[in-house]
Symmetry: C2
């Protein structure tokens, strides 16, 4: 019986030659053949040499197996594969197939300043470099030009999902959402709420903020429910406590609960900032967010957490808040310490990686993995009882752990959305390397040139137009 089924499978296959760009057929199931690596658990890689991953017509993984026959061993899987639809096999030959990258913290509106202005600490840097640039986004034409470049660069680096800060300008935030939609990439896009200690052109009243968000959310309740599953959604984005009045923060919290929107902001990045928050709110940083309903009441990601410890660490854990670790930004802006990521992992916190352009200088989440490992080595030097991060842990943070903020994203386990990168590392592979070594070399030495194909929710994503 099993043999007969397999013959039927083979007859139904549309075999396609290796690695060529395919015309998408949204109604077909797909089976991808390649060297497959992913992290189900953080402490090791799942690896299949010349393995198969089957993806259903909704872009969800059916299963992964070492050979085609094994894909059919589970009764329900066999039925799905054999239910009469065509199945297309795409053979990527000797290439690597890995989950796509997720960027949990990036400021699209600071795209122009990437690689610049590395000579100041956080608070001065905001006033002198960042706010002047963000003011330009009142002009939607400027926003469109820069955001197109930004999304194209995200694509280049294989980042298929991102938590993005735009600016406080509603219309240019809408432009950014449209660009992501058109590209087919996943993004939670934040119109930035801010009304304190910032330039006039960036500050909004609480009413303006609410109206802006509601205009971006759009539609009636049934449409809104539907939008919960869409790739591009608004995310409630109070800039950080120093730039928001209590009323603004309270309204942000209400907005998140009312429309079941996720939340993103900054937490405990810099000592001076922490001092300001304590003075403004009369409590510690995480507790302040929590009082306003902005700390896990809906899915929440907080960037940095360099100085998070004690009560704040406990509250993050209790509320399931996601930490976005931004190692390059932390060094570039001289935060003065190292985020205790190993301690977070030991305590079961959720941690992903963020490029934090333009505090960070590099959009590549691969390079964030490298920096995360390196920073953890510095931390380990000062805290020998905390081992540094392994490659599988860094990879897991960038894929499955960060991906969990977007749903079932970042792994090839059954039911996960098929977000994937095909890596052609032939130019890095001049000797006999193991699969894991090939992946390590790609992460440490590679760049976008090795990324041959990108998939988001089962669809191949082609280069976005500028």
């Amino acid at each position: 019986m099993k043999c007969t089924s397999l013959i039927l499978v083979v007859l139904a296959l549309v075999v396609v030659s290796c690695g060529k760009k395919q015309k998408e057929n949204r109604n077909m199931k797909k089976i991808y053949k390649a060297n497959i690596l992913y992290t189900k658990y953080k402490d090791h890689f799942e690896m299949l040499e010349n393995g198969y991953v089957a993806v259903d017509s909704n872009g969800r993984v059916i299963g992964v197996a070492a050979d085609l026959a094994s894909l059919g061993t589970d009764a329900s899987q066999r039925r799905i594969i054999l239910d009469g639809e065509d199945v297309e096999i795409i053979d990527f030959g000797d290439r690597l197939l890995i989950p796509a990258m997720n960027d949990l913290h990036v400021h699209a509106s600071q795209y122009r300043n990437q690689g610049l202005a590395m000579d100041l600490e956080l608070m001065d840097w905001l006033q002198r470099y960042t706010y002047p640039e963000e003011l330009k986004y009142a002009d939607t034409a400027y926003a469109e030009k820069m955001y197109c470049h930004f999304v194209r660069d995200l694509w280049r680096h294989g980042t298929m999902r991102a938590c993005v800060f735009a600016t406080s300008h509603t219309e240019s935030t809408r432009v950014l959402m449209h660009i992501f939609q058109k590209a087919g990439m996943g993004a939670f896009v934040g119109k930035v709420a801010m009304n304190r200690d910032c330039p006039e052109g960036l500050a909004e009243s609480v009413e303006e903020m609410m109206q802006g968000y509601e205009s971006l959310i759009g539609g009636d309740v049934s449409q809104r429910r539907k939008s919960l599953g869409s790739l591009v959604r608004p995310i409630v984005t109070p800039r950080f406590i120093p730039s928001c009045t209590p009323e603004m923060l309270r309204s942000c919290g209400e907005l998140a609960v009312k429309y079941q929107l996720p939340v993103q902001s900054h937490l405990s990045e810099n000592k001076e900032e922490i001092r300001i928050v304590q003075k403004l709110e009369g409590t510690w940083y995480g507790d302040a967010y929590n009082r306003y309903g902005l700390f896990g009441q809906t899915p929440t990601v907080m960037a940095h957490c360099v100085y998070t410890d004690g009560e704040e660490l406990e509250l993050i854990k209790q509320n399931g808040v996601m930490v976005a670790h931004c190692p390059t930004s932390n060094i570039n802006l001289t935060t003065g310490s190292i985020a205790p990521i190993r301690k977070f992992l030991d305590n079961g916190l959720r941690v992903g990686l963020g490029s934090d352009i333009s505090g960070g200088h590099d959009l590549s989440i691969s390079r964030m993995m490298v920096y995360a490992i390196q920073m953890s080595k510095m931390y380990h030097s000062q805290n020998p009882q905390r081992p540094f991060l392994s490659m599988s842990e860094a990879f897991w943070m960038a894929t499955k752990s960060a991906g969990s903020f977007f749903g079932h994203v970042g792994s090839f386990e059954p039911g996960y959305e098929f977000d994937a990168l095909v890596i052609d590392d032939s130019d890095l592979n001049q000797d006999n390397y193991s699969l894991q070594e090939r992946l390590e070399r790609f992460v440490y030495m590679g760049d976008d040139r090795q990324i041959a194909h990108r998939f988001c929710r089962g669809q191949e994503i082609m280069e976005p137009e500028l």
Copy 2:
């Protein structure tokens, strides 16, 4: 009189279209037009928008000027330009023209391990990953394959001069020297001297070491003198004190003085290593080298110097020893501290940058600049009285300071050898950036794709064959 001269200059010019690859004409003087940036002093950039640099037929810079007329204002310069030879003008349009990169510390024989084996500290890493790889270089065919890739990659990254460790194998070291010679790139290449605490296939007797070096030096005394000016030369390379007996170290020192060869090794990288040296030699690390004539008796570069301070710092200064700062290697191998580069600069030490493949994972000296700045920010956090490095300081270390180890290299001042890179940053330059901002963005965000042309000692260097 001045006007007449200028007319003659203009008549003699052979104007060549922008940026096309030129057939080299070794007998012609060249004038390059571009946006020129270099560091005469470490604290700021010299910048000429649409400036000119004139290069004589020996590949040395005649002068740099904002316009053609100014190139003729110095009497001796005018004479050189007008002595009857053709002068070719090459217009690089809006591109940047900067000095080429110099890598003061890199292990060519660890090329295969680049991006791998980041899970151990120095001493274990040597025994478990590094020595097994170096043993393979007994096979010159393997060496040739790997060294060709290595030199091609150096070229890609715009590194035109390097201090390179090969292995203890004389014949494969010769292969590496030939590959550099064929490429036209500058390199001091070290056959590695080692005879203690290392695998049998890497250890040599002192006599074998001496004979090997003499065979690489070759020729009679007059030839040897001539070779002092050649682009590729041997460099005396005791691996480091723990792998050399006193007799080996003494012989290395004698070899350096006898043949006036430069010296390279490792210094004070790791606490365990320092402890071993103290035990073996009964003195501190730098003093041990110095007693053997390996610490500035001839031009000497020492990699790392993470723990250098006090007497060792003073001796480095007194002896004019060059420090090769290898920031990625220091983090990757968890040396446990940060090399005090600002302190070195404040004390007038000579400092350059090294990629230290494969302790370091990245051959790009641009990215070494970024890491050097970042590490100096971490150091600044712990030592607030020491400001972190500026971009111009990092650039100066990579170009003029490191270049001084190879002669007059790394600047566009008159008399300097024309080692240069032409940077086409059009894909990073979507807005109105200043020249310095463009350079910063190239350093922080760019890679070999932006390097449009490479020059070493006045000759354009084309991609080496594999």
